[in-house]
Amino acid sequence: MLDKLALYLSKPFVQNALIVGVLIALCASLLGVTLVLKRFSFIGDGLSHVAFGAMAVAMVIGLTNDMLLILPVTVVCAILLLRTGQNTKIKGDAAVAMISVGALAFGYLLMNIFPTSGNISGDVCSTLFGSTAILTLSKTEVWICIALSLLVVVFFIFFYNKIFAVTFDENFARAVGTRAGTYNFLIALVIAVIIVLAMKLVGSLLISALVIFPALSAMRLFRSFKKVTVFSGILSVVCSVAGILISILAETPVGSTIVAVDVVVFGICWLIGLITTGGNK
């Protein structure tokens, strides 16, 4: 088994998958803490369905580089969704649900009305649940992913204190002059970028898992924002490496294996939390 692993690890496509997997998992978990605490756990789900819809449109009109369409559309939706927190004609969760299922339905509809390949259900299934795409990354895609991930991490470190202030108490932050609107906008922008990247890894149905599980696991164990953030980053990276390796060895689908590992780890953290706090929290 170790031989098999060593053999795979020497292949460039596996190395690429690991690099991209680690980076995406890290980025997703960093903002996950904020999103979970702001009660936006489902935004990942909503946005990834939007990305799915945009991808269907890109496929139908025959764009060679579908990123050109998916990224801007997702970013716009992310900004709209995170804005609804302020004017509450439609509550945040309802808005997410609406956009989410709406985009999913339209995407699937378009793919059926204007089929571009013989195997529609195969196409749909692979975009929803992630596919072998992570194993067929081109050099350019890997570099784009590295660059964007670095940007996300740098953004997060530099604005860490502002993100904390805005997440913990937006009204207070605004009252003392923090430009909460701007930071919410930036958070929306970054989360959209992460989701578009993560679609390649786990597919659009499972993205929420990458965003919320590490954060929730870390919250079982730690009591300060910094520790929760750092630990959820570490957990997320470990889970995604483990998931990718297991999926290679056991020949299971990459995305769902990573998510399964995340779920198991959450269970473990929950248990440890229960034992250490004596079931108080």
Binding site: N171, F172, A175, V176, M219
Partner: protein, 240 residues
Amino acid sequence: MSYIQARNLSVGYEGEAVGEQINFTVDPGDYLCIVGENGSGKSTLMKTILNLQKPLGGEIIIGDGLKKNEIGYLPQQTPVQKDFPASVEEIVLSGCQARCGLRPFYNKEDKALAQENMEKLGIDFLKKRCYRDLSGGQQQRVLLARALCATRKILLLDEPVSGLDPKVTAEMYELIRNLNKEGITIIMISHDISAALTYANRILHIGENIFFGTKEEYLNSNVGRAFVISHEKEGEDHVG
């Protein structure tokens, strides 16, 4: 000149006014209590003073060297905060945001200020503890320490004692009184008319009738007498 001066102010949201023709001034050293029935627009007025929302009419003039971001604020707790994993230190430090501007990290002075305010409010020993594990009174002290990091001049308190038991409530009021004696101007929203009359030197009553003046003037006004009596009754009803 006054720190804050409101002229013919109307407050509300989505174009609907909940309070109109509000006039008042806040001078350095004042202790102003805003009282009124539920839904009379007390919190909305406070948000308008803080520039979190625009006035529907009239104006608020900030003066006497007070800058807009020098107003410390003790908001009511939000549901998000109830299970928020953050240490006391992290929260108090976040009050220094106003001083940071675009600077991304806290410097030594910020940390010293946070430490000083934690000591002042007697929560220094809690600084590594998680906010959500604290009692209601301790949580309010944390938020108060954070507000003090943001200002040396004026504090706006939105129902600072709601949900606290009588003993902790009394301690909280003492704490606020002491801050006022040290020269920090206080604006407080309160349900508790007897506390307002004990501690404040000025009263702003909003609702159907609007009154602004000193405590003594309020007690001699029709608005004030009616409100005080109705609340004393309410108190007796609770006891009975």
